[in-house]
Structures are given as structure tokens and as C-alpha cells.
Amino acid sequence: MQVPNPGSNATGNDNLALTAAEFRRRFRWLIFYTWNIPPIFGLGFILLIGVLTPAQILGILTTPLEPAYILGWLAFALWFLPRCMRPLADWLDSKTGSSPEQAVRAVRRFPLIFWATFLIYLVVAPASVIVAAEIYTDFVATPYDWFRIELVALIVSIIVGLPIFFLTFDLFGQALGELELKRPIITIKTKVFLIGALVPLLIDTMLVQYYWTRTGYFTFETFGVWLLLEALAIGGSLIFAHSFGQSLGPLQRLIGAPRPLPEEHLSALRPRSTDELGLLTADFRNLLDELQLQNEILELNNRLLRTVGGVEDTGAALTVVVDLCKQALGADQAFLIVHDEVTGDFVGVAQTGDEFRPDGHWRVHADEPSLTKWVFEQGQTIAVEDMANDPRVSARVRASFSTRSSISTLIRRDGQKFGVLMAIQREQPRAYGSREIVLIESLAREAALALQTQQLRQARAQAEIALRDSEQRLVQQQEALIRLAEYQVYAASDIDRVLQAVTETVAAVIGVQRASVWRINHDRDEIICLDLFERDTQRHSQDAMLSGTDYPAYFTALKENRLIIANNAMTASETREFSQTYLVPQGIGAMLDAPIHRAGRAIGVLCSEHVDGQRHWKTDEANFSNSVADFVSLCLELHDHHLTANELAHHREHLEELVLSRTAELETVNRELEAFSYSVSHDLRAPLRAIDGFARALSEDYADRLDDNGQDYLNRVRAGTQRMGILIDDMLQLSRVGRAELRPVEVYLSSVARDIVTELALADPGRQVEVEISPNLSARGDPRLLRVMLTNLLDNAWKYTCKTQQARIEFRQVEIGGEQVYSVHDNGVGFDMQYADKLFGAFQRLHGAEFPGTGIGLATVTRIITRHGGRVWAEAELGKGATFFFTLACDPDTKVPHITYGN
């Protein structure tokens, strides 16, 4: 069987919340002990003092009455008491099953119920014992026995009941721990009195009874001693209760006191004993003091933040800080001293009773000993009660400020030492405590924070202004770009006008004295000024030149297409090389140079030059420069295109001129050629005719004087001249074929060929030639030239078959390699194919005098066919005839371009 240990459970395991089940279990165990221990204890004591014998006791216990009484009560208690405490158990169960007030009320009611039940149980118990003894044993009770047994029962009930009762309340305390009680349910005083006075008293009574029973000795003296001892016990416990009350007194006053604690409660909160309660009181008092200080600091900070938050600038904020410092510390005056980083001096910028002065109301030299310097260097808060003999302060400082006491602390801002906050007393010396130190340090911290906040606020306000400015500028820039864009129409024709608009716009919008556009030359080693605008003189100039060898860094940056932002042109790496030659003479302090590029290659630069000092170029200005540079690039490109177009136009005109002049030349040549042909036809033939004519005249008129030889010679002369005449005609034809204008029409080659053959046959009626001409051959071409061509071919065929038996000539169309090819075939003498390539040249002949000919015919054929965009070739075998193939393009004009010159 598990034996719980209520005592240890009640005091330990504070962290564990008591569950309802645990509570019920422990509560029942306590009831169980309460109803069992006293009978055992009481019967034992009755046995001890001899009221009943062991046999009688045994008799009582073995009879049904006494156990029935005890067990009956136990059952009742185990049912009744938990029922009374159900509100508490229920509250523990779910925290909602019953209200805390009900739980507390049940606890408050419990002592009455407990003691009533318990006392009835124990007061009636002796009766049950005596009745049982009388019924079941030989015991006969005297009134004296009744008294003694009742007394034992009472004493036992209290001696055993009280501790168990307190243990029960410990259990309740644990259960109610979270509830805030407005007043105690059982005061400590009560507990002390009950345990300290009542328990010894009852124990004494039992002792007396015991000795009386054993010795039979009981006199008035015994009663007197008993009374005295009882009085001492009661008196002692009363004294103890009083002492305890005194210790507890200050704390007790807090119970149920109004919140926040009124001043009289706080002042009464002083330890009145040296025990733990006294110490606890002192600690509690300190805790309250600290709380109050924290409160004060918090309030101070609040005020500081509120006030500083409402002021415009740092100076006003610092003034607020010193005012608050003076108030909080009750000082005569407070100062805020900042450290001048340049000189190292300490400057009193803010002090109570004065306006803020950035240059300081006063100044303490960096080397002069002063508390400010000390605090600043040591970084500690220093409180001095009496300045009179302090070695850390120089006599001058002491005299000039007439300070008795001071407290000062370091102000850090952003982790950096910023200055010192100081409060002083002039008249009365003052001993500063930790409160003042904490106050001033907190004030210094908060002041720094407030300053930061205030500065942030300022910065934000500035940023907002800057943003507004920037937006305004952006709008201006946009408008300027739009206006500039209108100039684009002049880019081609009047680039100077565009560039002047560009430089004027840049100077106005970015706000610079000088704005210029430069262009990189062809060799990329110089830049040439296309336009420079100077705002103060409102004048434009051009043609300045800067050489890359003089300014390598600048040119490198330029060629790399870098935007050059030189806030200080004298020191910026790209522009400092201009210093002596350009920047100083022109007074230029800052440069913003945007590259003008085309297809990723820099072709120029747009320069904004700020005269008179440095300048911080803003991002939007750089962007604007870039945009304008892009615009310039576009315009230059348009301009260049225009130039190129002009040049092209010029070239084209020139070309036309050239063509015209060439044409004229060609026409001249042609005319000369024609003149030549004309001359040939006239002037060569005329003498031939003369030779032939006069030879004829000679042979006719002087025949009688010439012998046969002479006649023969004259005949040879005439044959020569006639042959010469044919040659000249053929040559003229060749020449004409090359020059004549083509007039292509549909030509019926079959019928042309038939005509030619008919003419041949007429001219040479003695010949028998079988001619086969495919019907319906036609082609597009110049009818005269095609006729000439066919005449030549058929004439050749006719001629070279003159020695052939059964001469045969065929003109037809065949398909060779998917191409329509015309062929003129004969079965004449043919020729050796190894000379085939010579065949088509002028004056080339493969045959001798046996076949007449000038060697010009096939050259003429070639020329005609070539002019018709066709080809001609021949296949032959010596003695077996020849075939001439030719093709004609469908449209000679398009296939073979040919410039013709006609009238």
C-alpha cells in the first residue's frame, strides 16, 4: 500500500500544479489519518493510564460496537468532507467548473466543518468505548472514568487533529496557490498560538494524568505547577506571536492596500526585525525604490523623446536634454558639452537658461584639466560632492563656474564619444547617490538616442526634399529631352543647329557653365569640338581639338565607353591630366562626360563642365547626360547617313556622267567603226572596182595587143579584186552583226531555211542536194541576224557537199541533255575535230582553195548566236560530214545583257 507523504508534497514540487485527482487523493488520505490516528492514540493512552485493562480494550475492539462507530464515522467523513471541498476540486479540475470565489469560500468554511465533525466524532467516541466496555466486558464506569476518558479524547483530538488540520491547509494552500486572496484564511499568528500554546498545554495535561495514574499523587501543588506551566506556555506563545506580528507588520500593511501604493504605506515599509521577515521587508523596499527609479527614468525618457521629437533641429533637441537633466536631478544648472574633433576643445553648446549655440557659450581647451575632459577620456560617470579640492579641475575652470558639486557622464552617439552631460550644484554641496548616477546615465543614453532619431528625421526630411528636387529635375529633363527630340528633323540637313540646341539644353538643365559635344576623329587619336556653349557669354564655338597622346587616361575611358563622373576634376583619375592645360585656365572644377556611342563604339563625348569648384553630380544628371548623348549619337548618325547619301548621290551622278561619257566614247568609237566600215565599203571597194573595171576595159579595148598570157594575168587581177570584194563584204557583215540592234520577234526558222536553200539552189542550179528541213522550227530572235546565221551555216553545208555523191543537208531540232538544240548536218567533207576550236574564229579556214570562203562566216554565226544568248559547236569527222549545233535563248535581251547603240 502506498503511503503518501503529505508534508513533503505540500512544501515541495512547487512547480507542479496540483491536479484535481491528486488533490482528492491526498485529501482523502488526510481524512483517513484524521479519523484513524486519534482512536488508536486515545485507546493506547487509556490503556497506559490504566482506565481500561488490555483485556477490556481487546474486548471492546473485538465487539461490533466500537469498530462500527469508528468505521461508520470514517465512511461519513470520507463522503462528507470531500463533498464540502468539491468547489475547490472542481475549480482545480478545469478552472471553469467552479469559480475561484466558490473555491475560496469552501476553504474558508472548511475549519468550522472540520472541527465540528471532528470534535463530535471524538467527544462521542468515549461514550462508545465506555458503553462497549460495559456491555462486552466486566468494566463498570464510574463518573470519574467518564471524565478521564472524555479528557483523553479531547486532548488527543486536538494534539493529533491540529497538525493534520495544518497539513490539510497546506494542501489547500498548494491548491489555491494561484489565487490571489484578499486576506489570510488562517493567519500565522493563529498557527503560532495554536501550536505554541495549546499543544504544550494539552501535552502537560496528559503528562499530569499519566503521573497521577501511575503514582496516585495529585495535590494542589501539582495543580498549581500545572497551572503555572500552562500560563508560561500561553505567555511564551503570546510573546512569540507578538514578535512575529512585529516582523510581519510592515509587510502586512501591504495586504489589500490600494495600488499604486500610497506614500504612507511606502514610508511605513521599514524592517522592524532582524529575522528573515525583516530582511525581506528591506529587500522589498529596495525593490520598490528601484522600480520607482526605473519609472522615473522611463518617464524622463518619454518626455525627452516626446519633446525632442517635436523640435526642429539638433540645437533645440540638446536644449531639451539639458532642461530635463536639470529638472530630473534637481540641479542648479545643466550643461551639454561637445568635443570639437578638430581642435580637441570642449565646447559648451547647450546649457539651461540659454539658447543653443553651435560655437559654444564657452570653451575649455583640450589640454586644460577639467571634469569634462576627465569624463570624456575615462568614459565613466563621475559625481563630485565637493569640487573645492578636486585635483582633476583647474583653478580657472573652478573659478569660472563656481561649482560646489557636480555629476557628469559621457554621451556616446553611434558608439562614438560625442560629449558630456553635466549637472551642477552651486550653493549647497550635494552627495550624489546611485539614483542620480542612474538617472544621468540614462538621460545621456536617451539623449544620444533622441539625437539620432532627430537626425534620422532630419535626414529623412532632407531626403524627401532631395527626392522632390530630383523628381522636379527629372520632369525638367524629360521635357528638355522632348524639346530636343524636335530638333531631330534638322539632324540631316543642319547638324550644327541640333548640336547648338543640345549644348544650350544641357547647360540649362544640368546647370553648368560650359556644355560641349566632341567627336572622335577617324584615327581615334583626337577629339574635335563640334560645339561648345558657354553660358555666361551665350556664345558657341567649335573646332577646338584635344589629342589622345596628351590625355591618355581620358581617351582610354572614352574609348571604353565609360561615363566619366568627376566630382573633383582635379583629382579624378580620368580628368586630372587636364589640370594645368585645361581645367585651371578654364576654371573648371567638375566634369560629367557621357560617351556618345554607335553600335557599342564610342564616337564622341558630351561634356558638362562645372566652373568654380567641385560639384557632386547626381545620378539623374548622369542619366540625362547619357540620354542626350544617345540623342546626339542618333542625330550624328542621321547626319552621317545624309552625308553618305549625298556622297552616294554624287557618285551616282558621277557614274551616270561616266556612263554617259563612256557611252559617248563608245558611240564615238562606234561611229568611227561605222565610219570605218563605211570607208571600207566605199573607199576600199571603189579602187577595187576601178581595178576590175579598168582591167576589163583593158582586156576589151586592147585585146588585140595582149597575148594569152596577158589576158590570163588580167583575169587573175580581176579574180583577185572580186575575191577582195567578197572579203570586204563578209567583214562588213561580221562587223554589222556585232553592232546591229536586236529586234527579237518570233522567227520561223524552218521557212527561213527553206528560203535560203531555194536561193542556194537557184544560184547553183547544177547541184543535186537532198535537203531535209524539220517543219515548224521557230525561235525568238532578230530575223535578219538569224537569217544571216542560217545562211552561213546552210551555205557552208551546201559548199562542203559539192564533192559528195548524193549530197544531203538536214536542219532539225534535237534534244541534248534536256536542252532543245538546233542542228545543221551535212554529209560533206567534214573536218578533223582537233581543229574544231579554230573553226569559229575569224579568218580561220580548215580548207584550201578547193572550197571558196573567207573564213569569216562561222565567226559571224558565233557572234549572232552569242548575241542571242546561245551556244554553237560542231561535230565532224573527216570525209564523213559535219554537224553544227546551236541553241538560242528564249529571250536574248534578258539572258545576255548587251548595250546596243542605235539611232
Binding site: Y678, A686, R689, F694, Q722, G725
Partner: protein
């Protein structure tokens, strides 16, 4: 069948051709008077009765003019143009007798109003034949325009 009265005006600068033409005419029994002009000016002077032929009776015009194209001073085309441009000679039969067979010569001659175009062959026999036919046609068969009276 030839009319001996009617005159042939031969405009020819080449003395060889002149001799051969005269020979051919003679051999073909064309016995008309042949007036030879050795350049264009002379030909026009004859026709218009100007210059060296001033005072000539211009109502008596040649039966036919044999006109070479290639002539000193004023060429055959120009002569022809002026013949056709002048009222009195507008209807004058003109036969171009030239060595050239260039198309443009032929075309421009006809455009200017030549009545015929004959190329002088190199072969004298052909030349003879040409002159023969020419004489037969122009002096015998052809009826010239009536003379203005």
C-alpha cells in the same frame, strides 16, 4: 529607145568611178548627155543654175540624177534634201548610185526621197549590167514628171 536630148547628171567625185560609169553608159549605148558634177555644190549649182552654172536654164532639168553619197563639200544626202526641199527640183528623179550598202544609208536616202538606190558592184560586169538596167529603166521606161512651163 533613148532620148538623146535628156541629160543625165552624174554626181561623182571619184574620177575612176566617173570613167567607169561613163564607159558603162557608152558600152550600153546610152548616149544621153552626161553632166558630171564632182561635188555636191557643183551638183546643186547645176540644178539651181547657180555658182559655176549660173545662168543655166533651170527649166531644163536632167532626166535622172545619179547621185553618189560620199561627196566632198556637201554630201549626197544633203544634196538630195535640198533637191527635195526646192520647189523647182522637188519632183526630180534621183537615183542613189553608191558603193555603200549600209542600212542607214539606204534608209536615210529613201527617207529623203530617193527614187532608187543602187549599189555599185565591185565586179565590173555586174556594174555594167546595173548601169544597163538603170539606163533602160530611167531613160526609157520611166516617165519623168512634166516640166514646168
Amino acid at each position: 529607145m533613148t532620148t538623146k536630148d535628156s541629160v543625165i547628171l552624174l554626181v561623182e567625185d571619184n574620177p575612176d568611178d566617173e570613167a567607169l560609169t561613163l564607159r558603162a553608159l557608152k558600152k550600153n549605148n546610152i548616149l544621153n548627155k552626161v553632166v558630171v558634177a564632182r561635188d555636191g555644190i557643183e551638183a546643186l549649182d547645176y540644178l539651181f543654175g547657180t555658182g559655176v552654172h549660173a545662168g543655166r536654164d533651170v527649166s531644163d532639168q536632167p532626166q535622172v540624177v545619179l547621185l553618189d553619197l560620199k561627196l566632198p563639200k556637201v554630201d549626197g544626202h544633203e544634196v538630195l534634201r535640198r533637191i527635195r526641199a526646192t520647189e523647182s527640183t522637188r519632183l526630180q528623179p534621183v537615183v542613189i548610185l553608191t558603193t555603200s550598202n549600209e542600212d542607214r544609208d539606204v534608209i536615210s536616202s529613201y527617207q529623203l526621197g530617193a527614187n532608187s538606190y543602187i549599189r555599185k558592184p565591185v565586179d565590173f560586169e555586174q556594174f555594167m549590167e546595173a548601169i544597163r538596167q538603170l539606163g533602160l529603166y530611167w531613160l526609157v521606161l520611166n516617165i519623168p514628171p512634166p516640166r514646168p512651163d
